[in-house]
């Protein structure tokens, strides 16, 4: 029959009442499940002596002026589109030159002992901010997988989700976004994995659910939304270096003496300030990290 009448419908098509009620229960239950998530939005963290005493930028500055090309190349686009990224469930796979490769669930990373680290962030474009991150030393995670003696470098990869990341439709960079550190840089106490910002869970546009923060390097080294960490013997390829090797080196330490080929790196504009500041070697963290590069020609290894 063309037009279905009520009697045509089999009783099996009708949702039994108990299932229907169960659905309601399920929905109420999931609402309950959501509660703990919002409760942990405020993350417990201890203060760190490695924090700067400089006043941090406002939360709205930090969360509305971002470089996160997976969501578009405009500074405002990550804040507009990054909410599409599903950060639960999320795992970070750590493998390669390690004795105990494993995947870390994001909830287990959130249970690590978190510290507040207020760091300067210097973008290669010539602006800077002060950001109160919450996180833990990357070294603590790496110790759990026990790097082998052949682990000389650490490679990082951002999740690649074309359905959730409108920016990857254009090949502005060779996706997925990749970054890398030398193992001693990765194990340095200043190097952290951040899961929070301003006492709360990391907003998506800032690299949720977990990102790298290496405060003495240009911002693009601090890779966002990490899905994989891979330890290896050889220096890994990195996204910006692949895109323009003469402009972005593997090390990319903040260095006022080595200009970007197209603009000067001698000064920077701290977001919120009128006058420009002089850029400091290693973004002002030279005392802690200059030793990592002793004997290296930083002009060649830029």
């Amino acid at each position: 029959m063309l037009i279905k009448t009520l009697t045509d419908r089999l009783s099996a098509d009708i949702t039994p009442q108990e299932v229907y009620l169960n659905r309601r229960q399920f929905m109420a239950g999931s609402a309950g499940l959501l509660l703990p998530v919002s409760a942990i939005a405020a993350l417990p963290a201890t203060k760190s002596p490695l924090s700067t005493s400089e006043p941090p930028n406002s939360r709205s500055d930090i969360t509305s002026y971002n470089n996160y090309y997976e969501f578009g190349t405009g500074k405002d686009e990550p804040a507009l589109y990054a909410r599409r990224l599903k950060t639960r469930p999320w795992t970070v796979t750590v493998d390669g030159e390690v004795t105990k490769p494993r995947s870390f669930d994001i909830d287990s990373l959130l249970k690590m002992k978190l510290q507040e680290r207020i760091y300067r962030l210097r973008c290669v474009e010539g602006w800077s901010m002060v950001i109160p991150w919450l996180g833990f030393p990357l070294a603590e995670l790496l110790k759990q997988v026990q790097p082998t003696s052949r682990a000389k470098y650490v490679a990082f990869e951002t999740a690649l989700r074309p359905g959730e990341m409108p920016g990857v439709a254009r090949r502005v960079l060779d996706w997925p976004y990749r970054e890398g550190l030398r193992i001693d840089e990765a194990m340095h106490p200043l190097t952290i994995l951040a899961v929070g910002l301003y006492g709360e869970l990391l907003p998506n546009q800032n690299g949720a659910p977990v990102r790298l923060v290496v405060p003495w390097k240009y911002g693009f080294k601090s890779i966002k939304s990490i899905s994989r960490i891979h330890l290896l013997e050889k220096q890994p390829p990195t996204s910006w270096n692949m895109a323009a090797p003469n402009e972005y080196g593997f090390y990319s330490n903040v260095n006022p003496a080595v200009d970007h080929p197209r603009w000067s790196q001698a000064t920077e504009r701290r977001i919120g300030e009128f006058f420009k500041r002089k850029t400091l070697p290693f973004n002002g963290y030279g005392e802690q990290v200059a030793g990592l590069y002793r004997g290296m020609d930083l002009r060649r290894n830029f």
């Binding site: 709205s60 500055d61 509305s64 002026y65 090309y69 190349t73 500074k75 474009e125 602006w127 254009r170 502005v172 960079l173 895109a243 323009a244 200009d259 197209r262 603009w263 000067s264 001698a266 504009r269 977001i271 009128f274 006058f275 420009k276």
Partner: protein, 218 residues
């Protein structure tokens, strides 16, 4: 085909016949005010808006509007050929001078808000950074055009005035190049400007070569 376009264009052109002096004056005043709107918007955004990096937004915005006015200036001749009325030509000078106005402000934000008049650093920048070199060159080339834009200079230079003002065919590409070399990775936006400019310049090449080509075909 050609006939049909003519018959289409003709009544349009007739309809747009020379406006009276009073109407033309009000068109001019309106255009003058409209051309100030981008500046108002940029200043509003920088001073009163929620801009995170207002100085950069202002510098970039002024540069973008310089390019737009240059391209608009170059649109006038092709529009005329497409049947737009002749008096459009009499508005071109204002568009060109607005390009100059916006580039002056653009340069000022660089000299003041970016370099704080550190002349040694500015000279270093001009010598060392190709995008600043070509930007500065484009500005210098625009200077004589702005100076000779008055009726007096048009009369004094006679035929040479037209030759001099063809410099804009060099200035506009330099401006686009300045933009292209500044961009970090996503060159889509400068390429759009480059494409529009290419169309506007290629049309002129075609118009210039057309008589020669037609003669050859004969």
């Amino acid at each position: 085909m050609a006939d049909s376009t003519v018959t289409l264009a003709k009544p349009l052109a007739l309809h747009w016949q020379q406006p009276g002096p009073r109407l033309f004056a009000s068109i001019k005043v309106s255009l003058f005010l409209v051309c100030l709107l981008p500046l108002a918007q940029l200043l509003w955004h920088a001073l009163l808006g929620q801009a995170v990096n207002p100085i950069e937004d202002l510098t970039r915005g002024l540069g973008t509007w310089t390019l737009r006015f240059l391209l608009l200036t170059l649109c006038v001749s092709p529009l005329r050929a497409l049947g737009a009325p002749g008096w459009l030509l009499r508005l071109r000078r204002m568009l060109g001078l607005y390009a100059f106005f916006y580039v002056c402000l653009h340069l000022l934000t660089y000299l003041w808000l970016d370099q704080f008049f550190d002349w040694a650093a500015i000279v270093r920048d001009i010598v060392k950074r190709p995008f600043i070199t070509v930007g500065m060159l484009a500005f210098l080339l625009l200077l004589p055009l702005a100076i000779t834009s008055t009726d007096g200079w048009i009369r004094r230079l006679k035929r040479n005035w037209g030759k001099l003002h063809r410099l804009v065919y060099v200035i506009a590409p330099l401006g686009v190049l300045h933009y292209l070399w500044l961009v970090k990775r996503d060159i889509q936006s400068p390429l759009i400007y480059a494409a529009i400019l290419a169309v506007l310049l290629l049309w002129r090449v075609w118009r210039y070569l057309r008589p020669t080509l037609a003669a050859r075909v004969k």
